[in-house]
Structures are given as structure tokens and as C-alpha cells.
Symmetry: C2
Subunit: 463 residues, 2 copies
């Protein structure tokens, strides 16, 4: 029942764990594609069987979208309870022709697992299960463990949180452990102290009743595609990176001097980061460093534009309509609902009677900031050091994990965010991969965290 | 050999002419689609057979792209020669689902012919052939007639003009008659006094080596799609409609007070035009009227943008690259070559080292302005009045006919532009159509023009 026994177990069983993960990755569980619904369920079922084999009691929680899986193993009602979150669904895979391997035929190459979901989130999530298995098989679990597993994170993203209130008792825990983020590199295990929220919207601008000849009407019409770019130009200042939506920054909490120092002292390197994605230099919001801009500052980004003729050759056409997908990353205390209202109001005002406009609202997620001094968070910092043999750093994360804020709200428990992906893992992109060393670190961390929580509980009882 | 006999002939044979046109329209001669190359040739061959049946000698002129057809009937080496231009290729038909009928299964409904090419240019072009037949069959042709027929106008657009110098003698003529434009309505037969030129370019901006997670990298990267909209924002001022390319207006000849008066006095009506395309109001360049902005002023327009994720749902991605198709409509004396150089230089300067950029240059056409006082142009004005029974107006046209400038240069002959499409004919768009009354007017005009030129030549000899 010692941590070193668990670490030994992880080492001895690594090949089997990875084989299990490869089987998991072969399930094309793309939640955004209706025709993959059966695969999404199969991925959830994969987890269910695995956790039942470890003695967990499981329940499937229906939602208005894809279901969730709950699992628990209560060893002692008086012991602390750790809740572990993961998701089994993955992003779509297009553009498929840019993949070096078929995305659902995983391969191990150069010490990395290559597949859609290898990092986000199957690889990270399965490393947690491996860590729990290691602790359970080398003694008895020293704390109660619950799993809450989503199969809808990359699609609706809000459906599971909606059913949380029906499961208040089941979700009760002392700490929630979430591995859906990243570390700067293998030398720097990292605890994530903040997440950005998100509000995503699609706008469709409709002008003339049909496409027009661009010579015949050019100079005389409001062109929907030109309107789209002009709307965006009025929402974001390219030179400064500032969002121009009136009221957008009202609720933003500025990073403290201490936070800014911590970010500056972190292992991030602009030049190395630029090189890792193949660009000459990075960008930043005026008045903030690159790394601050990417983690503790909000953004407005254009995730897609489509309008006019985009095929081979050229067509001198004024497209009747044009669409843009726009997302805003939010920081504490911005509220996605209020931000959406500001967005819709401003865009309507801009477009006026020049065209008609339609809004489609997509996933929203509140930003999150953790309390570093909380003992369960401190346990995470310690467990990271034990798992990696190196001191852990703390850092903000630019992405969003929509489940975190509602989970924290409902349980009142601290959310301990430590993920193990690396910056170049190609999340949401072709050729996603996940280093075996990251998988190993994740498994060791999960084991260490359970032990750390148990030992703190024992210390409290002894005191 | 009287004009009224030719008009009678047109009336009596109208049904047959239209049937012939329908057969012509059934040939899906989309020059931009390689798999339609045989159809493009078939359309050219349709014309060849028809003209040979009228006693014309024909030649096919190869080009580096689709070939041209030359036809001539010399009745008297000392008589004036009228050269008639048309094109038999058509625009692509997508989006196909917006067509009310299959685009190559023409139908006559509400007094209009519905099909791709019904107006642009098969309908207009075939009306000219009908007019020539009417004159030939009701006497002998009173002037020499040549045809120069393109099958590449909607694709490369420059290939036939390139071979003109090899055919200098064949092209010799006293006037060139071109029916590839439009009239404001059936009450106002119109002679086109100016055409805008064009320079079309596609830019592709490439940023990171692959797509990125927009949360992970948002705020820290130059996003190609955002760069594209920012480049456009630096090329065109949305509020004023001015093109911001330095040097763009250097060679622009301002419309004279007289031209502006003629445009203002013309039959154009902003409200009616807005209604015809289904928008609340039209746009204009600051300092110019709507109609001036659409005919005698240059533009910069965005014909297509594609980047990021544009499918169903939402994907929080930063696309690795983004493309925009941009065209500039030019007025005398702007030179497409110089404008392209200004464009490329400025866009390179804007993008700098933020991303890499690729340029693809598409069709270029010089702007054109006709000399209204030229007797062959005046013959056109008179012929229009005879054909329609109403005085003709003169007006500029917003579109481009790239062949006109090189044809005028090589032959030195006046180009007499009178087309018969109506503003709502959906050129280059779904549901293209052409009123039967326009077809009739075009045929009568061609007949009247040949008679008018012949009678002026006789008058000269008699004097």
C-alpha cells in the first residue's frame, strides 16, 4: 500500500495499459457527428467495463445530448473522496488528408502515441484510470474514488453539467481531479491555476436574394462577405489585440502583480513556442506579454469564415450570404451570457439595415480560477513533484474546460487541474499525439495524489 | 432587301430561332470545368454549323486555352465590314440546389428563357446570328460580316486575345459589334459607352504549420483568417467605399460633368434596383451616386473567403491557412498590370513576417471607353431606336468584357457595345434567364445595324 509499490506496478504494467489505451483510441467517438453516436456510447462503455473490473459501481446518466458515466468505489464513508473527471469523446478529424496515419488507427512512433484523442482526452484520462488501478492493485484504495466521465465535451459541452443538480449526492467529494490541460514540457510538471471560459457564436449575414454578378453590382451593394469582415474589424483591433465590444472588459479581473511575476518566471519561452508551431514570431495583446495574452487575458477569435466562391479558379460573384464562426475566450469574472448579449447587440447595431443577420449560439463555459492555498490543491502540487521527480510549477491555461465551473459550484470542492499534454500535441488538429512519458507521468500523478490525500487525512486524524 | 422585310422574317421565324437557342443552351459548356471541355467544343461547333448553313466560311483558332471560332462572309471587298463578337461558354452552376430548373434543361416560362447561358452570352449572341440570318435570307447581306466567337470567356478570358496578332488580316473590320451587356429595361434600349476592367487575385495566407487549438494559442498567434480580414480592411474602407491601395486612383479619369449628367438623367432608379435584388438599400462610394459607383468608379471586392472550420457545429480551431479571392474593377486609364503590382506590394508589406503569403493572379481586363461621336457608334444608336421603336440611351456598364480592349487595339475599329440583358437576369448566378422580348430586340438590332451601316456607306459614295 506504499506509493513506490504503485509506481512499480505502473512500470511493470505500462505495455498493457498502453495496449488498452490503443483499443480505446480505435473507437471513433466523434461526438459532433451524429453517425458516430454508437461509437461515442461504445467509448463510454469501454470505461464502464474497465472501472467495473476494478470494483467500481457504475451508473449511466442520460442528458439531453450524449450521456455521462458515473462510477464510484467507497472504501470508507469517513475517508476523503476524490472525484476524477475525464471525457471519452473526441474532436472531428478533418482535414483528413493532412493526417500521417488514419486518425483511428493509433500507432506508437518516436515514443509517442498518434491518434485522434491520444492527448485530448482519452490518453490523459486513461492515465488516471491506470494510476487508480495501480493503487487499488497494490493494496486497497486509501480514499474513496469517484469518476465522472463525459461523452459530450467536444460537442454540446453543457449537457452533462445540466444534470448535475439531479446527482448532488453522488457528486459529493472533497476534491475534483481534472486532467484535460497541459504542461510546458516534461521538465516542468504543472498545476493549472486558471482556465479561460468561452462563448462561441456563428453569424450568418444575408444580403441580396441571390448571388450577384460582381461587375454588374460592384460598388453599389453591401456585400455580405465584406460586411462580415467589417463586423469583425469592429469587434477586434488587429494591431492591439483588444476586443472592441463595448463593455467586454467591464468584469475582467486584472492579473495581480504576483500572478504576472509567476507567469514571467514560468518555463515558457516565446521563441521556442513560436518555433514549435512553425511561425516566425508570436503575437500579444498590447500591454501584456505573449504568455499573459494566451492565458489570463480574454480574446475574440475567428474560427471560420465561409462566403462567396471558394472553389478552383475564380468566379466574379457577390455571394448572397456569408458566415463566420467567432469565439471569445473569457477570464474571471466575465459571464458568457452577458458577453453573448453584448455581442449580439453590437453586431445587430453594426449591420443595421444593410443586410439581415442570424445568430447561432454554441458552447459557453465560464472561466475558472483556483485557490492555490487550498490543501487539496497543495496536495496536487506535491503529487506532481513525486510523480515527475521535479518541482511543480503553477500556471494559467488558455483553453476552456466548461465542466469545471459548474462542478466547482455544485460540489463546493476545489478543482485540482493537472494535465499532461505538451504544447505541440496537435489537439483538435491533424496528427494529434501524446508522449508515452506523459501517459506514465499522468498515471504516477494519479497514484501519488490518492496517497497524498490519504496521508494528509491520516495526519489530521493523528493531530 | 429592306429592313422591314428582315423584321418580318424575324417575327415569322421567332419560334424556330428560339428552338435553336434552346438546343444551344442544352450544351453544358462550362469552360471552367475540365470535364466539360467536350461540351465547350460542341457549343462552338453548334455555331460553326449554323454559320456555314448561312454561307459563312469558318476557321477554328487554337489558343493555349479553349479555341475560338472565326467566320466570314465577304459580299464585296469594297463594302464596309462588321465584325460580331460573342461567346459560347458559360459560368459554373453551383450552388445547384438553388436552381428552380436544371440549368441545362432550358424552359420558357413567363415570357423568359430559363437556363445557364440564357442571357450570358448564348441568348444575346444567338440573337445576333438570328438578325444576320434575317438580313441574309431577305436579300443579300449589304455589308461584309465576320464573326469572332470565344469559348473561353468565363475561364481564362485572355487566351483568344493572345492569338489576335496572328490573325490581323482576318480581324480587319470597320466596326465591331458586341452584345454582352445589358439595358436598364425594355423601354430603354441602350448603347454601352464604357466598361470597367478587372484584375482578379487570390491570396493564400499561411501561418502555423498546422491547425491549432484556439484556446491554447488564442491571444498569442497571428491567425491567418484574422490576417486575411485585416488585409482586406487595409485595402478597402467600408464606410466610404474607397480603395486604400496607395496609388490605386492615380490613373483614374474622373467622369466629366457631362457624363455625370447623362448618368443622372438615365433610366436608373436606386429604389427599384434595390428591390430587384431583394435588399433594403444600395451602397455607393462617398462623393458619387449609386449608379456612378457601379459604372464609372473602380472597386475592390471580395469574391470569396475560406478559412478555419466552416462545417456543421463549431470547432475551436485556428486554421493554419486562409484564402481570399479579391477582384478590382477598373476604369480608364487604370492598367491591370500596374494595379496588380500595387496590390501585391501592399499586401506583402502588410503581412510582413506575420505569416507567409502566396498570390495567384486570375483574369485581367483593361477598362474601355467608346467615342460616342464615331459614325459607326452613331449607327448603333440609330439601329437601337429602329429595333425597339424607342430612342436609345447611352450608359456605362459595371462589368468587364476583357476582349474589347485588345480587339479595339488590334483592329483600330470602334467597338459598338449594345447588349440586351436585363438587370435581374441572374448572370453568373442560379436561375439565369433572358426575356424573349430581349432576344427579339437583339435580333432586330443586328439586322438594323447592318442596314444602317450599309445605308451610311451608300450615302458616302453618293455624296
Amino acid at each position: 500500500m506504499s506509493l513506490s509499490a504503485a509506481f512499480d506496478y505502473i512500470e511493470k504494467n505500462e505495455k498493457r495499459f498502453v495496449d488498452e489505451l490503443l483499443a480505446f483510441l480505435r473507437i471513433p467517438s466523434i461526438s459532433a457527428h451524429k453517425e458516430r453516436d454508437a461509437d461515442v456510447l461504445a467509448a463510454l462503455d469501454f470505461d464502464r467495463k474497465k472501472l467495473e473490473s476494478l470494483g467500481f459501481r457504475t451508473e449511466v446518466w442520460p442528458t439531453r445530448s450524449h450521456p455521462g458515466l458515473f462510477a464510484e468505489k467507497i472504501v470508507d464513508p469517513d475517508a476523503p473522496t476524490v472525484l476524477i473527471y475525464g471525457h471519452v469523446d473526441v474532436q472531428p478529424v478533418d482535414p483528413l488528408d493532412q493526417w500521417k496515419i488514419p486518425p483511428f488507427e493509433p500507432e506508437i512512433r518516436d515514443g509517442k502515441i498518434w491518434a485522434r484523442g491520444a492527448d485530448d482526452n482519452k490518453g490523459q484520462h486513461y492515465s488516471q484510470i491506470a494510476g487508480v488501478e495501480a493503487v487499488a492493485r497494490t493494496g486497497t484504495l486509501p480514499v474513496n474514488v469517484k469518476f465522472i466521465i463525459e461523452s459530450d465535451e467536444e460537442y454540446d459541452g453543457e449537457a452533462m453539467a445540466e444534470v448535475f443538480p439531479q446527482h448532488r449526492e453522488a457528486l459529493r467529494c472533497d476534491a475534483a481531479m481534472i486532467a484535460d490541460s497541459q504542461i510546458p514540457d516534461l521538465e516542468h510538471p504543472a498545476l493549472t491555476t486558471s482556465l479561460r471560459g468561452i462563448q462561441a457564436v456563428e453569424i450568418e449575414i444575408r444580403g441580396p436574394a441571390g448571388d450577384l454578378h460582381s461587375g454588374e453590382w460592384g460598388g453599389m451593394t453591401f456585400e455580405p462577405l465584406d460586411l462580415v469582415r467589417w463586423v469583425i474589424q469592429n469587434l477586434r483591433d488587429f494591431e492591439t489585440g483588444k476586443v472592441l465590444l463595448p463593455g467586454f472588459y467591464d468584469d475582467v479581473i486584472e492579473p495581480t502583480a504576483e500572478e504576472r511575476r509567476a507567469i514571467a518566471a514560468g518555463p515558457w519561452d516565446d521563441t521556442r513556442a513560436a518555433k514549435s508551431i512553425g511561425v516566425k514570431r508570436l503575437s500579444h495583446e498590447k500591454g501584456y506579454t505573449v504568455r499573459e495574452s494566451g492565458t489570463v487575458r480574454p480574446t475574440l477569435q475567428v474560427n471560420g469564415i465561409h462566403g462567396g466562391y471558394t472553389g478552383e479558379g475564380f468566379k466574379t460573384v457577390i455571394g448572397a450570404s456569408a458566415r463566420a464562426k467567432i469565439s471569445m475566450r473569457l477570464v474571471p469574472n466575465q459571464d458568457p451570457e452577458r458577453i453573448y448579449q453584448l455581442f449580439e447587440r453590437r453586431v445587430r447595431e453594426l449591420v443595421g439595415d444593410m443586410a439581415s443577420i442570424e445568430f447561432r449560439r454554441f458552447g459557453a463555459g465560464r472561466p475558472f480560477r483556483t485557490e492555490l492555498s487550498n490543501p487539496y490543491v497543495q496536495a496536487g502540487v506535491k503529487a506532481l513533484a513525486e510523480a515527475f521527480g521535479k518541482p511543480a510549477v503553477v500556471m494559467g491555461m488558455g483553453g476552456s474546460i466548461p465542466i469545471v465551473a459548474p462542478l466547482a459550484d455544485l460540489t463546493g470542492a476545489p478543482c485540482v487541474l493537472a494535465g499532461f499534454g505538451l504544447p505541440g500535441d496537435n489537439l483538435h488538429a491533424p496528427n494529434e499525439h501524446f508522449p508515452l512519458a506523459c501517459f506514465r507521468g499522468g498515471a504516477r500523478y494519479a497514484a501519488a495524489y490518492l496517497h497524498e490525500v490519504a496521508s494528509r487525512a491520516r495526519a489530521r486524524v493523528a493531530r
